[in-house]
Every structure is written in structure tokens, then in C-alpha cells.
Symmetry: C2
Subunit: 409 residues, 2 copies
Amino acid sequence: MALIVQKYGGTSVGTAERIMAVAERVKRWRDQGNQVVVVVSAMSGETNRLIKLAQQIQQCPEPRELDVLMSTGEQVTIALLSMALQAQGCPARSYTGAQVHILTDSAHNKARIRDIDAARVRADLDAGRVVVVAGFQGIDAQGDITTLGRGGSDTSAVAIAAALKADECQIYTDVDGVYTTDPRVEPKARRLTRVTFEEMLEMASLGSKVLQIRAVEFAGKYKVPLRVLSSFEDGEGTLITFEENIVEDAQISGIAFSRDEAKLTVLGVPDEPGVAYQILGAIADANIEVDMIVQNIAAQEETTDFTFTVHRNEYDHAMEILKKTANTLGARQVLGDPKIVKISLVGVGMRSHAGIASRMFESLAKEGINIRMISTSEIKISVVVDEKYLELGVRTLHDAFGLEQAAAA
Amino acid sequence: MALIVQKYGGTSVGTAERIMAVAERVKRWRDQGNQVVVVVSAMSGETNRLIKLAQQIQQCPEPRELDVLMSTGEQVTIALLSMALQAQGCPARSYTGAQVHILTDSAHNKARIRDIDAARVRADLDAGRVVVVAGFQGIDAQGDITTLGRGGSDTSAVAIAAALKADECQIYTDVDGVYTTDPRVEPKARRLTRVTFEEMLEMASLGSKVLQIRAVEFAGKYKVPLRVLSSFEDGEGTLITFEENIVEDAQISGIAFSRDEAKLTVLGVPDEPGVAYQILGAIADANIEVDMIVQNIAAQEETTDFTFTVHRNEYDHAMEILKKTANTLGARQVLGDPKIVKISLVGVGMRSHAGIASRMFESLAKEGINIRMISTSEIKISVVVDEKYLELGVRTLHDAFGLEQAAAA
């Protein structure tokens, strides 16, 4: 007997019919002798309906009240799914985030989970019931309703799996697993049967939207085995595992990319300690998230050039701040480009294989793709290129590293 | 400075626009120096939408899960109203029933309030905030969400007013007060400026749907001054008061009526102790509510005739049970009529005035209305007549007791 936590997203529970289908699947797992906890999102469309309602009243609603409103979405789903399970003769009980004490901090709309009291869930499981929990929500220490932000249901599922020491946390989505890259960009993309947590983290943070990055971090931290599966077809999906280098031959697991990036450069700032802090500190103070950071020795002596990327929506704001800082620092020039993208090779295998980077740069060069920035980590090489080269770049690399073929396992 | 609890029903908060209008009214009360707690229902249509969703899944959903589902309706409204207040510069905070510890028993879908912890509400009021509370819902001792059943928002408002020792509990509805009778039946019906609790109880239980009967009972028990007002127009509404016989001249406050009644009679049962219990016990065991009960000496010696009324929907079921009991008791005959209505004169004034009953019977007789049953209490005389006489009966009595004129106060 295993303890399984399953998470179904908004599309999977989008209609009464689909909720019945989810109930059937849950019941099948339970009938095989497993204990099952189900975490659900709001029915697709519901979140937008609620936001629209709020905006008819106030353009920027207070975060606390927005959470009170939004959390009703999942509450509707837990009730309906419990009914669907009971209709199929499967004992079930629903709980809101507050009821199972998913304690979070008080950062409304983007709260982080601090603790879960699993006692009530465990008692129900032991009594033979399926437990249905509202994802995406919790309560803070004052008893106020919080939400984890969009996509937070994945995090809820993983956190509950960790608290219960579940054998597996299964994330059901509208795709059947993690792919070597986005199949909409490269039709030859292949589903991975396994991927390591580190790779998944890089993939998720780089815009492969299968799993929410915080959920993956959480799962890695608490060693929760995670599996991504399809709600609509049977299959084993992709297992996210702690093992490394499962297959020696697989140097690269996938190609992630991220659209909507923008690049800012400040040229000729004094090359002295504290400069990076002065430049990025001002940006951080404005709550703008910085992604890649590159610093070079400048052509001119005793000065340095400094480049970083932000989300395209933040470009104008970041530029405004940077210009002020540049002025203070006596920088020579400020440049920017809001139309760039990032493409990354990800794979734990690349640690032990030389020549990955050069093969990557060579393939891109052959297609005439100019690399604007480079950044590397142990298991990732990222390049920034002009927006127009995104598709070509992804397909070129997918081909160059033979990702359409499964590794000889 | 007064502490006011205001309750707005589903029609009053049915759209974003109406919610803004409610916020304006609430703010006006607060700006006049009052502390205001607002209790709201689900937006009109929302409850039916949720029930339809549930029924796509299960014809008779489990009461516990139905409560989880239904309670989202008010939760949406409290968030939106708080936003609307904040949008108008009025500090506000929303609470679900669980958050302000509206403790109920565990009778899902029809729970009764046991206790309210008003500490959190009081702290917010003292901090200058308007407090917005979800009506109709609470939690039981296990922390499960409960609902008070349809119309329960009135009861929530009164219970909160009682817990806070509020100066007045104002119930805003789509009518502007309590009338001498239903204006749709008697266009000359007049709004009462005051009515006693006892009268209101009789009016409510007899089908004047302005206030929920449990709310009136609660208000009477905890001595909460209650006022019924319109959400859509200004006016002083009707105050429900503890004073008796405010105006010596007003013998009758109003005429209540109840459609959809049915009458069952068993003739010639043995006239011995325990017979009434045997007849009504079987009906009660089937959860059928009995309204009027009349017992006469029968024509035949040592037997008695027994008549009672039930809701028309329960007629067939009650008849089936009664036939069995009649058989056991060796009764002579069982009769029934599912097409009767009840009309009642209500007024604390009638206690000290003889002749009310005879004037009532005389007026009805003059119009050829045959009385089928009579039942009286201290402040009420009810008659059962054929369904077709309802309108004529109400208008005749309204006229006979001069209810269109305000009492000479």
C-alpha cells in the first residue's frame, strides 16, 4: 500500500464531466489499495471570472480581499470532486487550506507555505477516505486567508506530500510529461521518462511551464518523488528523480527557452568594489527581478561594462532606474534591448563532458545566429539571442544534440 | 456613536453596481460616526448556479460537501463589498463565518448558531474599520463548514448583533418594511412603522416572507432591536419593538396568509388518552411538519374527530401514513383536502378587545366564504378556507378592520 498525493489542475477539473473522470481515476488508485490525497485547482475559467468581478469594483483590489475572493475557486472544486467520489461509492472528504492548517506567511497573493498540520488528513486516510484538499491557498498566523499565487496548487500538493511523507506526488496536467523542448517550437521534441530535480529546476525556471518552479524546489528540498502525467490519457509520464547521470550517454536532457526578456547594459562604470551592488541594489529595491548578470572588463581602463536581463514588462521601469544610477556613478553610456530571448541547454550530463559549449556555439554560428550574452552553470548553458532567432535556435540545438532519439538506456 | 449591524440580501448585492451602492450607504452610516458591521448573502443567482453545478454531479449531494460548496457564495460577496468600501476610501475587512468563529451545531444545511466570538470584530471596529461578515454560514466544533439554510443570513446578522450588543440590527431587503398584508393581494396594504416581536413572529410564520422566522425569534430572545428597510430607497422602514400596545386603537397589525396548505381529517377515532400522540407521532416520525391541529367531539359517542394541516407538498405522504394509523385505531373514515389556504388576523391589540373574532367571521360570511377550520392564539386568529377565497378573504378583512388607515398615534 502506497500513499499517493495527486494534483489536478484547472483544465482537468474544468467541467462536471471532467470532475467525474478525475473521480474515476482517483477511485482506481484507491481500489488498488493506495491511500490517496487529491489536491485541486479552481475549475478553468473560474479564476478569470472572479478577477473580472473584482475589477468591476476596483482596478487594484487589496491583496487580502483578493485572496478571500480567489480562494473560493478551489473551494468549489473540492466540494464537487468529493461529491463525484461519493457518487461513485468512494468515501471522501474535502478540506480548505485553512481546515488542514496550511500555514503560510502573510504575503497575500504570493504567500509561502511554512507548515502543514497533517493530523486530520491522516485520520481520514486511516478511516479509508480519500481526502480532497484545496490547492493554492492557506491561512496566515492571524487566520487570514492567503493564496500562493497562480500555479501554487503544485506547491500545495508537494507540501502536503512532504508533510505526509507520501510515496509519490503525481501532478496531472494537460501534457503527458516533460519534453526535451516545447513541441510547439520543435515537433520532434521527445518525452523524457526521467529527469533529475536539478534539470527540472533549470527547465522550469527557464519557461517550461509544466511545473511551477517553487513546487520543484520544495520537492527537491523534502525529497518528494514527483511525477508529471496527463489527466486525459494513460501513461507513465515523467518521473523527477534524485539520481544523477542515470544514463551516461545522455549529456543533455532538454532545451529550455524564455521569451519576453529584455537586456540592459551600462558601459564604463568605475571598476571598484560595490559597483555591482549599487547598480543591482536600486533595481532590486524596485522589486524588479533580475535574471542573467554579466560583467566584463571594459575597453577603457579601470572601468567595467555591466549587463543584465529583466522581464520585458519591467524594461522601461528598470531603464529609468538604471539611468539614474549610471548618472550617479558617472558611467559612460546606458544601452538596452527589449527584444531578446534566452535559450538554454540543460543536462546533468554536461558536467562530465567537455566540448558541449563549443558544440552549442558552433551550431548556432552555422545558422548565422549572433550570440549577445552567455551565462553558464554546472548543468546549464544559456545564450541570449535576438527574438527572431528563437525557433531556429531551439530546433538547431535539438538537432545538434540528437534529442529526438531516446538515450540508449 | 451607535453600533449598527446591517444585513443585505442577495438582490441588494446582485451586481457589482449594487455592491457599490451598498458600500455608499454603509460609508454614509460610518461617516455619521457609527460603528458598522455588515452581513451579506450570496449575490442573487449564485446559490442556484452552485446548486446546478452540484446536481450535474450528484442528485442529492452529501450535506457536508454541499455546505463547503454553498458557503463560497457569501465569501465572494464579502470580498467584493470590502473592495467596494476600500475603493470609496472606507477601511474595511471581510470575514467568513469560520473566521469570526460563528460556532454552530453539526446539522449541515440547517445548522443552528451556538456561539460567536466577537473579539476580532470588536478589535476591527475599534480600529475604525467596517467589518463585513459572510452570512448564512459557520463552523461546527470539528471545524467543518456549516450553513444555516436558505435565508439564514438574517439569523447571522441578528446573532452577531446580539454578540456585539449592537444598538440596532437593520435588515435591508427589496421591500421597504412590513405591511399590513401582502400588497400584491391587497393594493391598499399599508407599511407599519412599528410592530411587536410577537406580531412579527406570527406574521413571519404565516408566510410574510420579509424576515426569516428564526431571525425574529433570535432577536426577541436576545432583545436585539430589529428594523426592516429597503436597499433601494431611503426610508425609516419598520421597527420591530418590545413594547406592547403602543397605540391603544390598533387592535390588528396585519393580515397574514399561507398558501399551499392541505388538510387531513380522521373521523371516529376512540376518544381516549394517547390518540392524538398516535396520530401525530407517526406524522412527525416522517419529518412532516404539522401546522394547525383541531379536535372535536364526534357525532358518534365515545369517538372523536381529528383534523390537522400540513404543507401541500407533504399531503400525499401524510395521507398514506394517516390511513395506516386510522386502520390501527379502527377509525371510521379518513378525509382530506389539498386545496386550502390559511388567513390570519394578527395583533397584540386583540388581547384586550372582545369581538374581534366575531367581526372576522361575520365579514367572511357576508362574502359567502365558508370557514373550514378555526384556530386561535393570544394575538392571532386563523381560519382555513378554500383556496379560491384567498384574495377575497384577505381584502375583506383588510377592509373590515380599517387597515389602510394608519392608527391615530
